[in-house]
């Protein structure tokens, strides 16, 4: 029966990512959320006073806001049981060898140092609440590119001013309850500055690993790509599975200058006890472009809707995403677009797969303000049901307030046609292989946008999810 298969899939699935180490020598604050805890986090970071004030104000907002009622149930997440700050037993290093064995082995197993050697221009690695590794190639530094921990950057007056001007302006703490939480307890994350006209040929990558049981990770990523500059940024994340809730409430703020280009790729593979309540937002100026590539595979609950605010004439955005929900998962993902200036354009293409009782929802909003004359947006959303125990919902919305705007929307939902399976099987392919092949083909628009190594990783994730698919 399918029931049995369900757990089987979950077991196989996580093996690559599902390993833990102890926390010897780690610093762990008490669970829960109080002004004292917030002050303690702030004190540890020796950060400017304005930041402490910001944290306390955010905490106040958090206490006053309601949890959302429209999405997946998050009543299983009890903030009193979540440890908001866990510091590993090391400071930040710039070579892997200097890290404690546990931490180093973790990233070795995840393949990060090797990826850095072969095709990345720089890597940042976070373990629980703190960055433990940050390094960038000299060639990139010489171009004037800054890639460092955001807290490190806060200690330099030049960057402090810039961070203060931009920090949580795209995602204000009032945006939603978990943005407020993030404002109060954020820790770690990367700061990237790409100067005007600078184009980096190789991607930068930040990897976030949450090892601690019952903890939250709240990293803040702030990227500024100045006019005419170009950057590809990759974000990876994973965690081992526990039987208690973990929380990820990070924030990503992207500022894309005039005629600048930023590609932001994410493969999210949190463990299936994770509440992933992440917020990502980009503001794009005249002629600039942001491209989101997003794969969501992990988490128990996911709320993830990268938002693009097209603020300048002819600004563009594209969103290419895939969400795969398996047993025990409710992943509510999609994107938001604001066409806020003339002749902007947006293109959204998403794929959703649900299987073994998993639930996936595509949710989107396209808003065209009266300023958006001459703008266009197209949304295409396809969902694949791999069995009749699962669920796929599509909830797109459009609010158009300008005359000369063209918005097109297409969505389909269905299953793999028996004829396709039959055709492949008639050529000697097993049913399981045939299904995997078809699902991989379905995911192809997303994987072809990823660097090869990540496309391979994504295909492996799909393959793992597909094992035991025939019940």
């Amino acid at each position: 029966m399918a029931e049995k298969k369900r757990t089987e899939v979950a077991d196989i699935d996580r093996s690559l990512y599902d390993f833990t180490y102890g926390e010897e020598g780690f610093e762990r604050l008490d669970a829960g959320l109080t002004p004292d805890i917030v002050r303690e986090i702030s004190a540890k970071k020796d950060e400017p006073d304005w930041m402490l004030e910001f944290r306390l104000k955010s905490l106040d907002i958090y206490k006053r806001m309601h949890t959302p009622t429209w999405g997946p149930d998050i009543s299983g997440l009890d903030m009193d049981n979540i440890v908001t700050y866990v510091k590993p037993n090391t400071d930040q290093k710039s070579d892997w060898e200097s890290l404690p064995d546990d931490v180093k082995n973790t990233f070795e197993r995840l393949g990060i140092p090797e990826a850095e050697r072969s095709y990345l221009a720089g890597v940042g690695a976070q373990y629980d609440s703190e960055l433990v590794y940050h390094n960038m190639q000299d060639t990139a530094s010489k171009m004037g590119i800054v890639y460092s921990g955001i807290e490190e950057a806060l200690h330099e007056p030049k960057w402090e001013a810039m961070i203060r001007e931009k920090f949580m302006t795209l995602i204000p703490p009032t945006d939603h309850k978990f943005a407020a939480l993030h404002g109060a307890v954020w820790s770690g994350g990367s700061f990237v500055y790409v100067p005007k006209g600078t184009k980096l040929d190789f991607p930068l990558q930040s990897y976030f690993r949450l090892n601690a049981k019952g903890a939250g990770q709240f990293e803040h990523t702030l990227i500024i790509v100045e006019d005419d500059a170009d950057l590809h940024f990759i974000e990876g994340c994973s965690a081992p599975k526990y039987n208690v809730a973990n929380l990820h409430a990070g924030a990503v703020e992207l500022f894309v200058g005039k005629h600048a280009h930023l590609r932001y790729s994410t493969i999210e593979n949190w463990s299936k006890n994770m509440y992933n309540l992440n917020t990502k937002r980009a503001r794009v100026d005249e002629g600039g472009e942001v491209e989101w590539i997003s794969g969501s595979f992990g988490s128990h609950v996911g709320y993830l809707y990268p938002m693009s605010i097209l603020a300048g004439r002819k600004a563009r955005c594209s969103f290419t995403g895939i969400t795969f929900a398996g047993a025990g998962q409710n992943l509510d993902t999609g994107c938001k677009v604001v066409l806020g200036a003339p002749e902007t354009s947006a293109s959204v293409e998403t794929k959703g797969i649900s299987k073994s009782g998993g639930v996936q929802t595509f949710r989107s909003s396209i808003v065209a303000t009266p300023a958006a004359t001459g703008s266009r947006a197209s949304v295409s959303c396809q969902s694949l049901m791999l069995d009749d125990q699962s669920r796929s919902d599509t909830i797109p919305s459009m609010d158009i307030r300008a005359k000369n705007v063209d918005v097109g929307h297409e969505a389909t939902i269905g299953r793999i046609g028996d004829d396709k399976i039959f055709y492949l099987m008639s050529r000697g392919i097993s049913e399981e292989e045939a299904r995997t092949m078809i699902v991989n083909g379905f995911a192809n628009p997303v994987s072809k946008e990823l660097p090869l190594e990540y496309a391979v990783e994504m295909n492996n994730l799909i393959k793992l999810e597909m094992e035991g698919a025939i019940g």
């Binding site: 399918a2 149930d73 998962q329 929802t361 969902s383 669920r391 797109p396 459009m398 097109g408 969505a411």
Partner: protein
Amino acid sequence: MGETKKLTNVNAMPAPTWSWLKMNAAEVEVPAGLAPARDAVSVEPAPGSENVVTGNVEAFDTEMVAASKRYAARSRAAAPGDAAERAKLAAGELDTMDVPALSAYQRGAVRAEEELSAAEAFLTGCGREAYAYLRGLSGKPSVIDVPGGVRAAVTVRVDGRPGAAAAASLDVVVRANATLDLTLALDGAADPDAVAGVVGFAARVFAARGARVNVASVQTADDAFLVIDDMGVFADEGARVEVSHTVLGAGRSYTGLAADLRGDASRIDVDTSYLGAREQLHDFNYQIRHLGKRTVSNMDANGVLTGTSSKILRGTIDLMHGAKGAEGAERETVLLANDGVENKTVPVILCDEDDVAGNHGATIGHVRPEQLFYLGSRGLSEAQAEALFVSAKLEDAALSAPDERIRASVVRLGEAIVPDFEEELA
């Protein structure tokens, strides 16, 4: 003066989205101090159909109770968060992390599938509060009961007046293999500075095995009116329901339709045509639940918005568990003919079944470039092309008006927008 009434959760979509979009549901402020006007309502059977309007008042409820019994035995397989899963969770055989954390809507869907009888699950499109308000206005509902195999036609008119609240309510049973053509004329003539009035319609429709129900609703009220047009449909095996909503008037209009396609191979086709002008607001909510096997739904909406009008259309295709082979499709085309209009569209597909097909599409925008060139090559400027779409909407409604009185009402509205509308139309 009576007290102001506020209806909440009107036209609520079943699976809500972000509340900041202000799309999930409407709140309707009903004008104060309205006098009831039951004589503004008429139910007119066509010649030969007189006997269908003298039915038993219990007919609808009796049929729903019987249907509840018939469909009670339907077993259902596993679904996320279902009873089997909840039992295992309680017994500690499953960890909370192994069970999806369903949203409020998703829990409700499981409940509707597992626990609610057909009668308990019955809905109208505008929602309970609006329905209760309309029933309150209309008093005892009129009954239309079409005997098996018979074809009947009935026209219902609600002719609103300024300062008055008038609503018709119907309980409709169309028995096995019978056909009902129901025409609905929602009208109300009033000067622009007249005091407000309410025009309402509320109907529960039971379409038995193999029945055919064709509903043509044409709304032509002037801007002084608030119009609420609310309907719920239950479709038994092989029943086929066609609904057309032509919404041309009213300062504020709320149109709701919910359908429960519980019988295998039942089908609903909805055709919506609207014109928003001046400061009008048109609010639509369609909720089609597919429960039977090989059920089919088609929703097709076409509209033109001009002036500073606004419109929201929520369309939900709900492919529920057990609806093997079901197909739902939804398409909307909106032409925005003026800056200052507001157009909101939420085409939702909910799916808890794999052997189904759901499709939706929306095209929102201005006159397409190739159309504009074609119209231009025949002498129409962009502004004239847009005006053509507005007048075409009215002309089309006049040409396809179900009867002369409705046609005259369309012409009355048309005269306000298009010079010499009547003469041109002839």
